[in-house]
């Protein structure tokens, strides 16, 4: 493996993010080729965390744009500060200025409210990390608009003219795959699909993120989760859930999984009524003993 990629992988792991080779390679390439990175995968596999850890690594600001249906330019890019403009217009009127002067006064940078996209572009202290989270929630029209920003890293404001990026930001887009991202946007980005972690990776993540959990407990939790994900659940638990659960179990000072406590703390993992109902107590104790047995054999 190339030394830079290995170094990046190690640096990420020092920041508490256990990245496999695919993730490290993708992050390396997105920085190197200066292209946005589109990260897809199930909920809770650590997509958003990639951007956060990248910002920490580069010691720069993380600018986050959370997408939702109905997101529009005035919340994503910029908005004029209307109350201030109104007041300024009144003042200009009293000063006896004509319409041209008034306009000049009112449409200046100081009357502009910068929203995340514009803030990422105008960030002065080195390139920022721009996280466009859950882009699949925004509608197609917004996607088309993102294209424009992400391909040229410039924004045109009719009253002000074109604003170019001071530094091209590192852009990470995440998607939970609730809908297909359009081809045009996909083509602008490099692509990474994050799977649920392997057992070995999950145990490493748990050890890094939940120092309170003993090695055997982490191993048993990992085994349990791997077996649970093979079931047909409406909402499969991701790494985020397994970390929560490990924290809960560590707080209870457990060294081993125990069927009763698993049942009691299942709400950390399973967040669907039907899934909860379908996982019978007998099922759970079988999963628990299988996890304990496998962990005991491994150690």
């Amino acid at each position: 493996m190339r030394a830079e990629i290995r170094a990046l992988q190690e640096a990420m792991s020092r920041e508490g993010y256990i990245a496999d080779e695919a993730i490290a390679t993708a992050v390396f390439l997105t920085e190197d080729l200066q292209k946005p990175l589109l990260v897809e995968g199930d909920a809770g596999v650590g997509k958003t965390e990639i951007a956060k850890v990248l910002a920490r690594l580069r010691g720069t600001e993380l600018i986050r744009l959370q997408c939702y249906e109905g997101l529009d330019v005035s919340t994503a890019l910029y908005e004029w500060n209307y109350p201030r403009q109104m007041l300024r217009v009144r003042m200009a009127e009293q000063e006896g200025k004509d319409a041209g002067q008034m306009e000049e006064a009112v449409f200046g940078r100081s009357y502009l409210l910068e929203r995340p996209l514009l803030r990422a572009i105008t960030h002065r202290e080195g390139p920022a990390v721009l996280l466009i989270d859950e882009v699949d929630r925004a509608d197609e029209a917004f996607e088309a608009f993102l294209l424009e920003v992400l391909s040229d890293f410039q924004v045109t404001i009719p009253e002000l003219g074109t604003i170019r990026a001071v530094h091209v930001p590192h852009v990470v887009l995440t998607s939970n795959c609730t809908r297909e991202i359009g081809d045009a946007l996909r083509r602008r980005c490099l692509y990474l699909y994050v799977e649920h972690p392997s057992l070995e990776k999950e145990v490493r993540i748990l050890r890094a993120r939940v120092p309170g959990a003993s090695e055997t407990l982490a191993l048993e939790i990992g085994r349990f989760l791997q077996a649970l994900r093979l079931r047909r659940l409406a909402r499969s638990p991701g790494v985020a859930e397994s970390i929560d659960w490990a924290q809960a179990l560590a707080r209870l000072h457990l060294d081993h999984l125990d069927a009763e406590l698993v049942q009691a703390t299942l709400g950390c993992l399973i967040k669907d009524r039907h899934d909860l109902r379908d996982l019978k107590a007998a099922d759970l104790s079988q999963l628990v003993s299988a996890a304990r047995g496998a962990a005991a054999r491994a150690s």
Partner: protein, 376 residues
Amino acid sequence: MTGDLVVHLARFAGALRSGGVRVSLGDELDALRALARIDLGDPDETRRALRCTLRIRPRDARTFETLFARLWMQTGAGAAPRQAPPASEHGPGNPRPGLHRSPAGGDAREADVEVEVPEGEEPGYSREALLRRKPFDQCDDRDLAEMERLIVRLARRLATRRSRRLVPARGRGRADLRRSLRRALATGGELVWLARRERPVETPRLVVICDTSGSMDAHARFLLAFVRALKRVAKLTEVFAFNTELVRITPWLSAGQQRTVLSRLAEAVPDWSGGTRIGESLDAFASRHLAQLVDARTVVIVFSDGLERGDPELLAQAMRRIRARARRVIWLNPLLSDPRYEPTARGMAAALPFVDRLAPVHDLETLERLLPHLAS
């Protein structure tokens, strides 16, 4: 960068394309730039870099891995692009023969009963009115063409939902401060005229899953015509066909005539008009496509008689997963038009708890009644 590498990559990308993976020239250029930056001697690293830059999605991953192992790793060893493995939608494993015989006897209405309705013979009914009530299994190709035109007209009513975005409007809607202020400048800061914005009309998202097994054959053609018409209005409509295996047929509906669509279907859907495995097919849909295609705005339409030959429990599981994600699940069952029918067939009974609306579908009128349920 060597010219050899460029040629090799182009050949590899060509093979991916013929394997059904969409790779653009821009992707190839990115891949070349990436290859220059990584350790080409490390096959795993090369593979990861190519997956990232050629934008290989999970559904194309298998094709990619196969071709990578076969073409990329064997430089010069007769590495001409060959026909790639079958598209991912066909899934692993071939359909087992023996289970594919159409149900013995079959449905009485499936028989080729040709009841000609001569034009203008019945006074008081226009041809359109007649067409609306003509059972699908008695229609010929000419009826079909006319029906399609009629359906398109009906389907326009679908576009009634309001978007959450705001676009400039005249005379109604919310105040648009930005444009209002802009105009106020001309009148010395006095708000004489208020600009407004409102929500535009939005078309619904539909996913249609269509049973094409023997017992459904006569109806499937007409439902496909209906779906084609829907797709003209609701561009995001996705269509799947199944009998023993699930196949995505959306791409074929956008172009070409009904006949070509049907013949392609017959070629691609294993055992078109054979037996049915509803549970397995819906389960395949839930595992592979649910997350991408179905969200809280999407209406899922299942078109099947519910005569399940597999495990009803699997069917119930799959329906539950679909129900949990979709805005609404509609099950269209042609057998419902028979007054003696009760939805007690094993499959239908298993699916029923997860269906918002169970509706008959045997002529155009029943389809028309369905439209309001697709929109709201």
